[in-house]
């Protein structure tokens, strides 16, 4: 082989070797660069998420209604277990299972301890410190604990439907559902941060190394208008009232009429927010804002206020069709007690809760004006309260109304409202005709600033004179009406009882009713407007014998609590 050939072969070999090195370099530096760079980052840097604390929810007195706390997850590292699964189950389950669920929980824990395809299994979430310490004291090898942040409710299930609860979304992140937790979820959840810094071969941070930090932004806190003591006593009274009157459920709302601040909002049955998954989902929505009902006679004050405001009638206008039942189309309209009062004035109609009289008032008012006032009182829209899940029962278009609809709406049948819509509307009567938007959160607080939420005046729905006249009629209804026996001595209350039949597939249930009482006190300078609703009471079907006594019972306690002066 000639020298030239050997040189060529050598040259080719070097060229190929050079190409090989080049392509390998291309592979490392271009193709595999992102992966290698990530690997290098993993070796040199440590990254951590800095979770944001969820904002807390406070009552009016600054007491936490929803706070953050710590709980513990009990887990088992299966290869490290030394004892038999059944023995471990017998030892630990009694510390966290109730008597009635002992068998099912034991079976579940044992099944997890006997898994052969896993090395790590969670056994029980949300153990408290005491439970953790007791299980730790057993010294069982292979069991361990991990702390986990949880939402705590110091007042237990108080205002459960109002507060809502914190669950997980589809990505496993904390998320607020229903009530305040749902409505203010973005404010409450804050923003997670992260930290990335250099680490040494043992994984410890290098103080003089490179570091990048994006601090976590804690969620904002909410200060509510809820008076904790009032909420507590209302819930207790409501529960007792439901038991006493044999009702299926009930709702109480108390609002400050001048500001729209919700002072208490309770419903029963309720649920425990810290164990919400144990309850039926239909308990989660707040009945005060998410359930509609036919209001019955409590609606009469609004129809009468509309008639007075348009001067269709005056307080002393006499009814010329109140001497007996009225027949409209195929329907017969009667009074609730079958008693008739010829020549009743409008004030008497409210006092006697006279359905026939109300048809007279509605006729005088006319459909167009009644409809306009229903819209004006807010029955075609949500109240705008800061709670998730508020509903608006549809107000039928005016074109669909017949004369019988006008007649039945005058005494609160054939029309659906939410309890809060009623409170907002009657609150306007208590506030000299000015309608205020109800609200629950008065302050949003963070480390940087405090945002005050001011009451919002929506409109003058009736004149101050009309409000004064209807208030006097409501005082008369309480002083001389069917519920006068229950009224606390010395307190001037403007109120109205209600008893509504329950619509059932095109007709009304013959036996079941929804009873209610709405009113405000003291009538001249109202400190509160309150609505009490009892669904299907069995002791009596009438509002005057169920909801009204409960209303007065609660108001007696509120007088003491808020030291309301009874005046002369």
């Amino acid at each position: 082989m000639s020298l030239e050939t050997r040189c060529r072969i050598l040259g080719t070999f070097f060229l190929l070797f050079f190409i090989l090195v080049l392509s390998r370099l291309f592979y490392w530096q271009v193709i595999a660069a992102p992966r290698l760079s990530a690997q290098a980052d993993d070796q040199h840097f440590v990254s951590m998420e800095l979770p944001a604390q969820r904002g807390e929810i406070y009552s009016l007195d600054g007491f936490p209604l929803a706070a953050n706390s710590e709980a513990f997850l009990l887990y088992a590292s299966l290869p490290e277990l030394k004892e038999e699964p059944y023995k471990i189950v017998e030892s630990i389950v009694p510390f966290f299972a109730q008597e009635e669920e002992m068998a099912s929980v034991s079976a579940m824990v044992r099944e997890r301890l006997e898994r052969e395809d896993l090395v790590w299994v969670p056994l029980k979430h949300r153990l408290n410190v005491l439970q953790k310490e007791k299980i730790e004291a057993l010294g069982i090898e292979g069991l361990g604990f991990e702390s986990e942040g949880v939402r705590a409710y110091p007042e237990a299930s108080m205002a459960a439907q109002l507060l809502g609860f914190v669950g997980r979304d589809i990505d496993g992140q904390s998320k607020g559902y229903f009530g305040l937790e749902g409505y203010y979820d973005l404010e409450l959840r804050g923003k997670s941060g992260w930290i990335r810094r250099e680490k040494d071969p043992w994984g410890r941070p290098i103080l003089v190394g490179e570091a990048t930090l994006s601090p976590a932004k804690p969620g904002r806190g909410l200060v509510t208008t809820i008076d904790r003591a009032a909420q507590y006593l209302v819930e207790k009274k409501l529960e007792k009232g439901i038991e006493k009157y044999g009702a299926v459920s009930g709702t109480v709302i108390i609002m400050k009429p001048q500001t729209g601040a919700i002072l208490a909002m309770a419903s029963w049955p309720k649920f425990d927010q810290s164990e919400y998954w144990l309850y039926e989902q239909n308990l989660f929505p707040n009945p005060a804002t998410s359930q509609s009902f036919e209001p019955g006679s409590i609606f009469k004050v609004l129809v009468t206020a509309a008639a007075l405001d348009t001067q269709a009638v005056e307080a002393e206008t006499q009814c010329d069709s109140c001497d007996g039942p009225r027949t409209i189309a195929e329907y017969k309209i009667e009074t609730w007690d079958k008693k008739y009062y010829p020549d009743s004035t409008v004030a008497d109609i409210i006092k006697h809760s006279d359905n026939v009289g109300m048809v007279f008032v509605a006729e005088k008012l006319g459909l167009d004006k009644l409809y306009d006032y229903l819209v004006s009182f807010g029955f075609d829209s949500i109240t705008g309260i800061d709670l998730e899940g508020e509903m608006n029962p549809a107000l039928r278009p005016k074109e669909d109304w017949r004369f019988i609809d006008l007649a039945t709406a005058s005494f609160g049948q054939g029309i659906a409202v939410t309890p809060l819509q009623m409170v907002k509307a009657v609150g306007a009567l208590a506030n000299r005709g000015k309608m205020i938007r109800p609200f629950v959160v008065k302050q949003v607080i963070s480390s940087e600033k405090e945002i005050e939420i001011k009451p919002k005046l929506e409109k003058q729905v009736v004149s101050p004179v009309t409000a004064r006249v209807i208030t006097e009629m409501m005082i008369g209804a309480v002083e001389e009406g069917e519920a006068k026996w229950a009224k606390p001595k010395g307190l001037r209350v403007a109120g109205k009882t209600g008893t509504a039949q329950i619509p059932l597939a095109g007709h009304y249930d013959e036996e079941k009713t929804i009873t209610s009482f709405i009113g405000f006190a003291p009538a001249d300078e109202p400190e509160f407007v309150m609505l009490v609703i009892l669904r299907e009471p069995t002791s009596s079907p009438w509002g005057s014998e169920t909801a009204a006594p409960l209303w007065f019972d609660i108001s007696k306690e509120l007088i003491k609590l808020w030291q309301i002066s009874l005046g002369q």
């Binding site: 706390s69 007042e155 290098i206 003089v208 904790r228 002066s565």
Partner: protein, 92 residues
């Protein structure tokens, strides 16, 4: 002579500063363990703080206070007088 002294001082300063830098770098470079411990402690204290706050709130809840009051034998007042009401005048 002066120049020699200045050179000596500069040399001493360079050696001193280099030694100091070495010392500081060593201290900072090996403080990771301590930093991690401090951070862990901060996290633990934060958790403990939250736990204590929640426990405190639970103990101060109205249901707890009512239960404790009942155990102490306290009862709700049946009769409440409103002193803002005008007292009844003696009739002649």
């Amino acid at each position: 002579m002066i120049r020699k002294n200045i050179l000596k001082i500069i040399a001493l300063l360079v050696i001193g500063l280099a030694g100091f830098q070495l010392f500081v770098s060593h201290r900072l470079g090996t403080s990771g363990q301590r930093l991690r411990e401090v951070e862990q402690r901060v996290i633990e204290l934060g958790k403990e703080n939250r736990l204590l706050r929640a426990n405190l709130a639970h103990q101060a809840s109205l249901a707890q206070i009512e239960e404790k009051a009942r155990k102490l034998g306290l009862e709700e007042a049946d009769l409440v007088f409103d002193l803002t009401l005008k007292p009844a005048l003696v009739q002649n």
